[in-house]
């Protein structure tokens, strides 16, 4: 077993055990001691990593590369049984994508969903967390459980429920409207209202996860800091702006990145609630990809879509990491 480690930087420095004993005997500082004792676990380290790495290579690394390769081919249904027979077509799929009105619409719809949905989710989540953290102790768990309930339920079930809630004749909203004496529109049947309806539903479902993360972040802010601010005469809004928001920035970053990734990949909601309609007004990138790939078996073309989506996710994540991190350091 080699004793070389990247951190210790001692190449071939003899037996780990011997060195560890020597250092321990000499009463070395904890840092050196630790490094050295830890330096003899190459084999164990790799054995413990093996199951994860094997699964990662098979079901993530390989498919990521394979998707890229497929996106340069005309991979179709007959190639499923013989993947190597797919023809190389260069960048054709990508050039076709941006002339494909459907896909451009899907890009636009996904952007619409993200640009409205993510800030609303973060905003309502933060508001709920601040309210829950403002000195109510008895009921906090009760409310937290309630707000988080939609997060744990299957999106498919939630989408089926909301399809009914928004149903123009038997739905909850229609019934409420009827009781109050006005006619409600057919939300999911209207080109203008279908996407906003999906956004409201997505905010409703995901608000809880943002809230719980913000709540944890808020509770990590030491009370002394808040007390000091109050003693110095800070009002509620000053406290929020000058204490809460800056100290929540790491949480904000995490919530923003994770919510955005989730929203960019939106699939279940339009799949169950609108099937992309009416007139493709709720067709998202993932749904378009699914249809091209598994309804029409244009798998090369669908792979190009998957990659465009991936690049968008990467770009936005990087941008968010930049924007939100700069201000802390």
């Amino acid at each position: 077993m080699s004793t070389t480690t990247a951190q210790a930087g001692t190449s071939g420095a003899g037996q780990g055990e011997a060195m560890a004993t020597k250092i321990r005997g000499g009463g070395a500082g904890p840092v050196r001691h630790r490094r050295d004792r830890l330096s003899r676990h190459n084999l164990a380290g790799w054995l413990f990593s093996t199951p994860f790495l094997v699964l990662f290579l098979t079901f993530m690394a390989f498919p990521i590369v394979a998707t890229l390769l497929m996106s340069f081919t005309d991979f179709g249904l007959r190639d499923v049984t013989d993947p190597l027979s797919a023809q190389f077509v260069g960048l054709d799929n990508y050039t076709k994508l941006f002339q494909d009105e459907k896909f451009v619409k899907a890009l636009f719809n996904t952007a619409y969903f993200v640009v409205l949905g993510v800030p609303l989710t973060i905003g309502t989540g933060l508001a709920a967390a601040v309210l829950l953290n403002s000195g109510i102790d008895r009921m906090r768990t009760f409310f937290r459980v309630g707000f988080y309930a939609p997060v744990v339920t299957a999106i498919v079930a939630v989408a089926v429920i909301w399809r009914f809630v928004l149903d123009p004749s038997e739905g909850l909203i229609a019934s409420l409207g009827h009781q109050l004496g006005f006619r409600t529109p057919d939300f999911l049947g209207s080109e203008a209202l279908a996407m906003p309806s999906l956004i409201v539903m997505a905010v409703w479902r995901n608000m809880g996860s943002a809230m719980v993360l913000f709540l944890a972040g808020l509770q990590a802010i030491p009370t002394e800091v808040r007390e000091a601010a109050r003693i110095d005469g800070a009002g509620i809004f000053q406290e929020f702006r000058r204490i809460t928001v800056p100290l929540l920035r790491p949480t904000m970053l995490y919530v923003a990145v994770m919510t955005t990734i989730g929203f960019l990949n939106v699939f279940e909601e339009p799949f169950v609630m609108t099937d992309g309609g009416p007139s493709d007004s709720t067709l998202t990138i993932s749904l378009d990809m699914y249809r091209e790939g598994f309804d029409f078996f244009h798998m090369g073309y669908a792979s190009a879509m998957a990659y465009v989506l991936f690049v968008v996710v990467l770009a936005i994540t990087t941008l968010q990491l930049r924007l939100l991190k700069d201000k802390t350091s």
């Binding site: 480690t5 951190q7 490094r35 004792r37 830890l38 676990h41 190459n42 164990a44 380290g45 199951p51 994860f52 699964l55 990662f56 993530m60 498919p63 998707t67 497929m70 309210l131 009921m139 768990t141 409310f143 937290r144 309630g146 707000f147 988080y148 309930a149 744990v152 339920t153 299957a154 939630v158 989408a159 429920i161 399809r163 009914f164 809630v165 004749s169 038997e170 009827h178 409703w204 944890a216 972040g217 509770q219 990590a220 110095d232 005469g233 800070a234 509620i236 000053q238 204490i243 790491p250 990145v257 990949n265 990809m289 790939g293 598994f294 998957a306 990659y307 989506l309 991936f310 996710v313």
Partner: protein
């Protein structure tokens, strides 16, 4: 990323001192706002649950009926007739149990290695874990389908389980918890001649039981609610998981026509077990999220 730094400038002094009545009014306002939010959050679930027990007449009644005057199980009966709920339930459960057990084992193994074993390549491996956390599942969908077809695994439980057998989130979570175990404890065992596997199995795992519970819940729920891959990887209704069965049923124009009650009965059966588990085990959720979110 420290959350305890006390750097931001405090607001300048002066302005008004706090008063008791104002504080009370504020509390009331907080409760009112939270209650409104809660009603909005819970209403769709209540509407779903109540509607699943309504008769067809009351479902379409005008003016609308909130609480059924006539409770009926017809919707559930009809659902069970048309959709193999039992089989889908069994499939979901089997897949979720296997996925959970695999994650508990594999994630804590790598979590232990990353937290407590210094091996060449530890940093790159941790980098892979962090990277994997960000990769959207949709990216792997197409080649995974081809791969599973090539191996003849479409409509098999293996296809539903293996791709989710070791999630990056679990590794991350377990690493966080295992890091908190004092090195001295492990070192003492090593000096007594214990092997790494023994240390992992007999010392580390028992000490991180709460973390394992948290991870188990998250992974189980993730698997239970998973949709896109099971949709792609199954053609045989006998292998559908609950969400796939429900979505297929809901989107089948010949079946669902005019049967909102039946659909709500289906949603009710999918949602109920999960909500029960969540309410009973909710403290583990809070723990896990706090750890995972604030590395």
């Amino acid at each position: 990323m420290s959350t305890t730094e006390t750097r931001p400038p405090l607001a300048p002094a002066a302005t008004t001192p706090r008063r008791a009545p104002a504080a009370r009014a504020r509390r009331t306002l907080v409760y009112v706002l939270l209650s409104v939010g809660l009603v909005v959050t819970v209403a769709p679930f209540l509407w779903m649950a109540l509607s699943s027990f309504k008769t067809q007449r009351e479902l379409g009644a005008s003016p609308p009926v909130w609480v059924p005057t006539e409770w009926t199980l017809d919707n559930f009966r009809e659902l069970l007739d048309r959709m193999d709920v039992g089989q889908a339930f069994f499939n979901s459960l089997l897949v979720a149990v296997f996925v959970t057990v695999c994650n508990l084992l594999f994630c804590s193994m790598l979590g232990y290695a990353l937290a407590k074993l210094n091996f060449v390549g530890r940093r790159p491996v941790f980098g892979i874990v962090l990277g994997a956390l960000m990769v959207p599942g949709n990216l792997m969908l197409l080649p995974m389908f081809v791969m599973m077809s090539a191996m003849g695994l479409i409509d098999s439980y293996a296809a539903l389980i293996l791709p989710f057998a070791a999630g990056a989130f679990g590794v991350f979570l377990m690493r966080q918890f295992i890091q908190a175990i004092p090195d001295e404890l492990l070192e003492a065992a090593r000096m007594d001649g214990a092997r790494e596997w023994y240390i992992f199995w007999r010392i580390v795992l028992p000490l991180v039981k709460p973390a394992l519970a948290t991870l188990a819940i998250f992974v189980f729920l993730g698997s239970w609610n998973n949709f896109l891959w099971p949709l792609v990887a199954t053609n045989d209704p006998g292998k559908y998981t609950l969400p796939v069965a429900l979505a297929t049923f809901a989107n089948d124009p010949t079946q669902a026509a005019g049967s909102n009650g039946v659909l709500m009965a289906g949603a009710f059966l999918v949602v109920l077990p999960v909500l029960l588990v969540f309410v009973l085990l909710q403290r583990f959720f809070a723990q896990g999220i706090a750890t995972a979110g604030l590395k």
